[in-house]
Symmetry: C2
DNA sequence: TCACTTAGTAAACATTTTATTACTATTATC
DNA sequence: GATAATAGTAATAAAATGTTTACTAAGTGA
């Protein structure tokens, strides 16, 4: 019982801990608005073509909004639309190479800042960190998959 | 070298992994706008009274914006302002009990959804998870503090 | 076939967020 | 003590986001 509470609190602490990095993500990004960024980020993480409805649900944004947002992203060359062969009403949206590049550039920034700090840990701590990180990712994934 | 790359990639994966929970955070929150939420969340994490300049820097938001945002939050009873005894130009902003409650309610939601999934892991996995989570938090904190 | 639902678009409108400029009262510096 | 820098406020315009209603074309199911 009390162990559960402790774990959940540590989980919340972890999220808080990473919160700062998250807000960093979209700082230098003057090329895109918040929502545009949000959509791009989501597309990147999902790693697959999606129709507007799926994006709408995933981001909790009205489909009417997405029409314009995606039209702009397409015009700038970050996304492409193609008709869904299985449903003639729908369109499949996917990232262009240029679109992927933009997102990857942002992650590279975080990635580098992380390494800067990481190498200040001593060797044993680095190993512990690596092990704990990996374990956590595996278990988190497992928790999601079983849901 | 290659181990560094691997670790940094796992770190990015962890952030991605937790991303979903983040966007959950402000879903049901109809009472506050994004920025208002942002400010509240920041205040909650910092756990101390701050002046506008500090909040402005921390959130990367112009102080001119904060004037109104904070005035509204104060009017709704989520924040209180008091003159800074050390600097007569400045005001110290802090969360009211009502303000803390609002933020805590949101975290409780995440907290509960986390536990739901967590209890599906077997006992050994739960122990591993706990250990890894704790280790990671400790080391992340250490990395930050040494920065 | 006929009613019903769904994917996407459109336009009008309110609200929020961002950006710019300017001002007062302090504080810091020299 | 004069001058410059800083904390906060104010007012405004512009851009972005959110909401509502309505429409077309395509799928669904009796």
């Amino acid at each position: 019982m009390t162990m559960m509470k402790e774990i959940a609190e540590e989980f919340v602490a972890l999220i808080s801990n990473l919160f700062g990095r998250f807000s960093e993500l979209n700082k230098g990004a003057t090329e895109l608005s918040h929502m545009q960024n949000h959509v791009m980020e989501f597309m990147y993480m999902q790693q697959r073509a999606m129709n507007l409805k799926e994006i709408s649900k995933g981001l909790n944004v009205a489909k009417q909004q997405l029409t314009i947002i995606i039209r702009n992203l397409e015009a700038r060359g970050y996304l492409t639309k193609m008709p869904d062969p299985k449903d003639k009403r729908a369109v499949l949206v996917s990232l262009t190479p240029k679109g992927k590049e933009v997102i990857e550039k942002k992650w590279t920034y975080i990635y580098e800042r992380f390494l800067e700090k990481f190498i200040r840990l001593d060797e044993e701590e680095q190993l512990d960190f690596h092990f704990a990180l990996h374990k956590l990712n595996v278990l988190l994934k497992k928790m999601e998959d079983e849901a």
